[in-house]
Symmetry: C2
Subunit: 310 residues, 2 copies
C-alpha cells in the first residue's frame, strides 16, 4: 500500500468535517484547497474571514463544503475549532497558523476540550523508498521522556490507528540501542515489561516484542544474524521510540536522508488533531489528513478494509 | 570527497601496522585480505594459527606484511593485540572474533592498556546518497547517556578525527528534538553550555552551535525557515547525539533506509580501536580501517591534506 492510496480511500469514506484553527494563512489554505479538490472532507475555517477569502487561489471552493467563521485571532480560532468538535459540528481539529501549545491548551480544556483517560501522542506512518511496507513511528513529537505507563497509552493509540488503516494485529517493536535487556538502559527494561504485559493480555490487539534494535526490528537478515526468536523481529509495523529525541531525529532522518513520505497526527483525544507544519510538503499534509480520516472509520469500515488490503 | 577516496589516500600514507585480536574468522580475514590487496597496512594476526591459515582465501598474502601469532583463544588474542600496540609493535587495534567488552577490558588495563585522560568514544563518518558532503556522527556506540564532561571529550575526540580527515575547523551541532533551550530536555541545556564553552575557548579547533534539530543542522532551508543566525546551522559536519539510543538508531536509519556508507572507530585511546561487526559490509569495514589510518596522520600530513581537499 502507498500513502497515495490512503488518500484515494479516504475520499471514499463517509464525509467528515475538519475544524481548522487559524486558517488565515496561504500554506494552510493551499492544502485545504487540495483536500477539497480531492473531496476528502468538509471544512469549518476559523480565522479572519476577509484574509481567508483574499488568500484563496480559487474562491469558488467556498461552497457547501466550506464554512468560514470570522474570529478575533489565533487563540479564539483554536478555542472555537476545538469547541466545534466538542459540540459535534466537526469531527477533527487541524492546526493552522497558531502555535501547537495554544491548540493543545484548548484540547485539554475541561469544559469544552477533547480529553479522554489516555495521554495524547503522535502517530506517524512512513512510506520509505525501497522499503516494502508502511512503518509507523510513535511518539516523535508529544511526550519527551515517557514513563512506562505513558508508553502503554502511546502503544494503544498507535495500535488503534494502525487497526483502522488495515492492520488487525500490528507488530510493535519497542526499539532501543540494543536487543538485549541492559539495566543501564532503562528503555530496554520498559521494552521487556511492555512485551510481557502484551503476553498477559494487558495490552491487546497487537503483538509486542522488545527490546529490539532498529536493524533487527525491520530487517529479517539482521534479526536472523542475532538469532532472535520473535514474531516481531524483522517485520515490525510500529516502532515505539524511547524518547522524543530518538523519535524526532529518526523522523527527520527518514524525511531528509531516505526521502520518505509521511503522514501523522495526534491520537488519544476524542478526535484526531492534525498538526502540520509550514515546512511539510503539501503531499505530507494531505497524507496527515487522510490518515486522520481513516482513524475515524467505524469498526465495520475497518473490517472491510482488511478484506480489501490483506 | 568519497569514502573510497579515503581508502585510496590511506594507501599513500606511511605504512602502519594493525594488531588484529582474534583474526581466526572468515569474515575478519576477508577484510584483512582486501586491505592487504589495497596495501592499506601491515598486520599482526592474533589467533589460532592453523585456523587462520586454513581460512585464508589466498595463503600467499602471508608475506612480509603479515605475521601470525598463535594464541590460546580470544582473550589472549585481545590481551596480546593491545599489548603489541602498547609496546610499539603495532599502531592500531582491530577487533576480530572476540566480544567488544573483552577488547575494551584489555584497552583499559592499567599495565599494558591504551588509556589517555579522555574517555573513549565512537566516531563515524557517513557518505549519504544525494547529500553533498560527509557527516560525522558521535557517539553512537560507546557512551550510553554521556554527562556534559563526557560530551566535551566526545566532541574533542571527533574534532581530532575530522581534523585529520581534512576539516581544519569542523562545525559541530549538538542535536536534540528542538532548536531552542527547553529546561525539560536536559540535552538542550548541555548543547547551549557546550556552545558557550566553545566561544570561551574551552573546546578548541571547532565551531559548536546548539541546540539544533537534525533538519536545521543539515538543511539551509530548514535553518532559514527557523530564522537561525548560526555558522553551524544548515552546514554541520559533526552531529553530537544526546544518547546512544539516538546515535544507534540514527546510524542504522542511515544505513538501512538511506543506503549510506559508513566508516567508524573508537577514538580517545592512545591508538584507534576498530570495532567492525560481522554484519558490516566489506566496504564499510575497509572504510573503518581507512578512517582509523587517517587519524594517525602527523600534523604535517593533515595540513597537506587540507591543501589537496579544500
Amino acid at each position: 500500500m502507498k500513502l497515495d492510496d490512503l488518500v484515494l480511500e479516504a475520499a471514499q469514506l463517509p464525509q467528515k468535517t475538519i475544524a481548522v484553527a487559524a486558517a488565515d494563512d496561504d500554506k494552510v489554505l493551499e492544502v485545504i484547497e487540495e483536500a477539497l479538490k480531492r473531496k476528502l472532507a468538509s471544512f469549518l475555517l476559523f480565522g479572519k474571514e476577509q484574509r481567508i477569502k483574499s488568500l484563496l487561489d480559487d474562491p469558488s471552493v467556498v461552497n457547501d463544503d466550506v464554512e468560514i467563521i470570522d474570529t478575533t485571532g489565533p487563540e479564539q480560532s483554536a478555542h472555537l475549532a476545538v469547541k466545534a468538535v466538542h459540540e459535534g459540528k466537526a469531527d477533527l481539529v487541524m492546526k493552522g497558523m497558531v502555535s501547537t501549545s495554544v491548540i493543545l491548551k484548548a484540547v485539554l480544556n475541561k469544559d469544552y476540550g477533547l480529553r479522554t483517560g489516555r495521554i495524547l501522542s503522535h502517530v506517524a506512518v512512513f512510506e520509505i523508498p525501497f522499503f516494502d511496507r508502511f512503518l509507523f513511528i510513535t511518539d516523535s513529537a508529544m511526550n519527551v521522556s515517557p514513563s512506562l505507563e505513558q508508553k502503554v497509552d502511546i502503544v494503544i493509540n498507535a495500535v488503534e490507528v494502525a487497526h483502522k488503516i488495515g492492520y488487525p494485529v500490528p507488530k510493535v517493536a519497542p526499539i532501543t540501542a540494543v536487543e538485549v535487556v541492559n539495566p543501564d538502559m532503562a528503555a530496554t527494561m520498559d521494552a521487556a515489561v511492555l512485551t510481557q504485559m502484551n503476553r498477559r493480555g494487558q495490552i491487546k490487539n497487537c503483538l509486542i516484542d522488545g527490546p529490539l534494535a532498529l536493524d533487527n526490528a525491520i530487517s529479517f537478515e539482521a534479526a536472523r544474524y542475532k538469532g532472535l526468536e520473535s514474531d516481531v523481529a524483522g517485520r515490525a509495523d510500529i516502532l515505539l521510540v524511547p524518547t522524543v529525541e530518538v523519535g524526532n531525529i529518526l523522523y527527520k532522518s527518514l524525511v531528509y536522508f531516505a526521502n520518505a513520505s509521511v503522514g501523522g497526527f495526534i491520537a488519544g483525544a476524542k478526535a484526531p488533531i492534525i498538526l502540520t507544519s509550514r515546512t511539510d510538503s503539501t503531499n505530507n499534509k494531505l497524507y496527515s489528513i487522510a490518515m486522520a480520516l481513516h482513524s475515524l472509520k467505524s469498526e465495520t469500515e475497518a473490517q472491510n478494509n482488511y478484506l480489501v488490503s490483506h
